[in-house]
Structures are given as C-alpha cells and as structure tokens.
Symmetry: C2
Subunit: 302 residues, 2 copies
Amino acid sequence: MRKRPVQAPSRADARADSGAGPGIGTVPGPDAGRVACATLSAVEVADPRALRRAIRAGRHRAHTVGLAPGRVQGNLVILPQALAADFLRFCLRNPKPCPVLAVTEPGDPRVPELGEDLDLRTDVPRYRVWRGGALQGEVDDLRTLWRDDFVGFVLGCSFSFEQALLEDGIPLRHVSQGRNVAMYRTTIPTAPAGPFAGPLVVSMRPMTPAHAIRAIQVTSRFPSVHGAPVHFGDPAAIGIADLGRPDYGDPVDVLPGEVPVFWACGVTPQAALLAARPEICMTHAPGCMLVSDRFNTELAAF
Amino acid sequence: MRKRPVQAPSRADARADSGAGPGIGTVPGPDAGRVACATLSAVEVADPRALRRAIRAGRHRAHTVGLAPGRVQGNLVILPQALAADFLRFCLRNPKPCPVLAVTEPGDPRVPELGEDLDLRTDVPRYRVWRGGALQGEVDDLRTLWRDDFVGFVLGCSFSFEQALLEDGIPLRHVSQGRNVAMYRTTIPTAPAGPFAGPLVVSMRPMTPAHAIRAIQVTSRFPSVHGAPVHFGDPAAIGIADLGRPDYGDPVDVLPGEVPVFWACGVTPQAALLAARPEICMTHAPGCMLVSDRFNTELAAF
C-alpha cells in the first residue's frame, strides 16, 4: 500500500458533496484535470469502462470531474459489516442527503449494477483511509487493505443534477467561477440510526427566482441524487448565520435579485460517518469519484 | 333574456382567475353557496352531469365553488369568430396564464370533450354580456343571444391546482380566511396576438419556503391549469409596488417566515379580452364556472 502525503482535513476547504467525499479536502482545479487527462486516451476520457480500466492500471490518479461525461459518478463509503446495517438504515432514513445508488454484498468489491467489471478496490483514482474517524492517509488502491467483512456504499452526488441544470440553461456560479460549491451545517437534524447522527449539511446555489423555480422542477426529477431543494431564501431559518462563511467549500456571491437555494448535501452522511469514529472506513479522495456506466438521465424519475 | 341588476365591475373586488372570469366582480361567500346548494339534491351537488341539468333547468344561479368536487371547472369566454383566431393565438402564445382546455366549432355550443351533454348556452349558472369591452348585464342563459358565428373557449382555472395543494397538506391562506385570492398586474408583458395584449396578471399565495418548494412540484404537474409559479419573493422584481394593495381580489397577510409565491392568473386573458373592446363577448359571471365531467387529477401531466 503506497501512501501519499496528505494535508489534515479542514472543514473550510471541502469539495461539494459529490467531490468532497468524507475525506474533506480540496479538489484539484480544472487545470489539474487537463493535465491528468493528458495521460488518458480520448476513448478513456469518454468511455466509463475504458476509464476504469485506465484507473485500475494506475494511469489516472486525479479527480474525475468532466470525465465520462453524462455518466453517473458516485460517493464511495466502505465500512466493516458490523456498522453497515446501521449506516444503511441511516441512509434510508435520510434519503435526501444520503441517496443510496448501490450496496455491495459483504466482502464483495463488485457492483455489477453500476458496471459489470466494476471493482471498488481498484476503480477509484485515489482513496482515503480513516481510523477512529481520523484520516490515516491516501492510497491508490484497496487491494492490500480489503477484508472479507467490508461493505461498500455508493451514494448519489450532485454532479448528476448539476449536469441537468447546466443543460437546461441554468447557470451555476460556483461552476462558472471555478470554485467549490458552498456548504453549510444547518440546525435541521438528521434521523439517527445506531451511532450515525448529526445535522443536515446543505449546498447552496444562488439563482434568480425564475431559475430557482425551474431548478426545483429539474432536480425534482432526480430523487436519487438529492432531488428538490430543502430550502430557499432566509439562511437563518435553517440555522445558517453567515452565507459568506460556509462550513465547507468556497463562498460564492449572491447577487441582487438572486436568492440562495439550498439542497441536501452528501457531506451529511460523510460527517455522520466520521463523527461515529468507526475502527476503519474508506472513502474516495475529494473529487476522485467512482465512475459508473449508468447515464445521469437514467436517474430521472420521470 | 332576463337581465339581473349588476354593479359596475371594479378591479378591486375580483374573484381569482378562476372565479373572477372576465366579468370582474365579487363572488358570493360560502354562505351564499350553502343557500344555493339548498336548491340542489345531493346527487346534483356531487355529479357534474346532474348539476348541469339542474343549472339548465334554472334551479341554480349561484357560484359553483365546492360543487361537483374533484371535477374540472373552467373559465368561459365566447367571442365572434372574427376574433376567435386572434384570441386562440393569444392563448397559445401565453399558455401559462391562458391554458386552453377546449375550443368549440363556430356556432356550436357543445363541448363534448368536457361533457357529452354540455351546452355553453345553458350550463353556466350566470353569464356576463359585454359590448365594446363594457359590461352590459348578466343573463341566465345565452339561448336568445347565441349566434352562428360564436366560438367558445374554456380555459383552465386554479381551482384544479388548489385542490391538489390542499390535498397535499399545503394550507392556502385565502381559502382558510374565506377571501378571494390576491391578484396583481405585473410589468411582465404577454406576447400579443391581433388586438389582444397586456400585462401578465398573477395570483399570490403566501407560504413557507418548504411549502413553496412542494407547491412548485405539485403545480408543475398541472400545466393546463397555470402550472408552476412564475415568481416568488420580491414583489418589486415583477413590478408589484405594494402586496397590501392587490389590483384584483383581497389582500392576504404574508406572515414572518413566509414568502409570496406568484402564479400566472386567468384574469390575464380576461383583461386582454376586455381591453380589445370586442363588439360583443360573453363570459361566466364571477364564481359561476363551467363544470365539466373531467377529473382534476386527469389534468396531471405525470
């Protein structure tokens, strides 16, 4: 197991639910993506199975933003079986922040419903290993760490609905400004399960009311990637004291005539997971997502 | 043709798009409804065809709120054929405020798609007759006025989506307070067609952001009865100077923690119609709607 130097995780520099992963840290910027892609062929950039094969072969260790366009990318969580039932129950009780796309059989690293060849031990560009809730390090694969009692969870991420919003002509400021989406801990509690509990974390995207109405329609079609917003307007109503100081990610401006719109965020289960201090758990490294064969459009409920 | 005494129409006392009709005036309160219903049998209150038969026989000349529950009620406009193509084009260019449920053949008072027996000359409890855009009077039926060149339009009304909102547990203040919904002329222009033009008129319902998000989902399912809102929040952004002074209907309070949510309103085509000063046109009297056989739930797009 090769280890990479990592910085201590900080709540202030996380990537979006999707990108952030439980390993809360910075995501490489677009330039890093372009450099990384220089190691990939055109087919590998476009085709999810070819991309996974390249990752498995060690030829891509960077983030996956913009790769395999149109395909579902997911947050990865791997836990010992002893905690898996509690975590799954936590996800099912909080479906907006914790949309479960797939759960593996104990000990089985395969997720055939997301990709026939998919192997959770090797197909993510970079993993984070956590012990007792603290970051131990980043690794390139989980082959030496894998145990017969590990259970993998793939959770939907907002990349899917952001694609739908952008394709619908709704601008996303954090995307146009090349920043991480702004995320906030709220005073809305999650429904606990076993050791898993904590506040709902939301991501915020500022938009005009007309765009917000359309965004509510568009994201309502995608319940498995957070679905419709949970709030808009007054941040204090959900316990956010200062929009300019997000708990994770970067602040973005809310311009005159815009309202902040808040979606349930995949950092919610990640924060609940680490707060429970499991003996060991593994996640994707920020921005280094699991790339599946499924099309984002397949996730539309109608 | 029996005439009834009427008051001059006033912009300040109109009933909702639905209720208001182009004849802008007050709607009888709930008590009037109960009194009126005393003349109807239980079957006539519940069954749309029996209700229309009672209206045709002259046994119900009051508003239709709460009658034939669950069935689609529509705004009625009858115009000479010379203007009908322009008006239809106006409606089609402005589908949110002017959702066309049915258009008749010239001279034909039947609308079989809304009710096999339905007759536009007799099946509305009370009609308004307009000449040159001015109210001439109210009549009980159009049998003596009917001409071979008349074309009838039935437009969707917000009763249908309000039923869906109430059944979803979303309170509507104007309903609970027994008031008319508040309506406002905006600075949003409609797309003109022939002599028909004018500002978008909106109805306003105050709600919490969580209810507003759900209301956007629910009403998005009903594009043929105004669909999703056109705006929420800052009234000035759409040219409304004072929420406390609606152009039609009654003011309703916006409580702390609530935002005003604005839907396109059926008064839009009615105002455009009268502003065009057609030689003659007829509408339902406020609150005295055309009751169809169709179920509100049939109008759900998904």
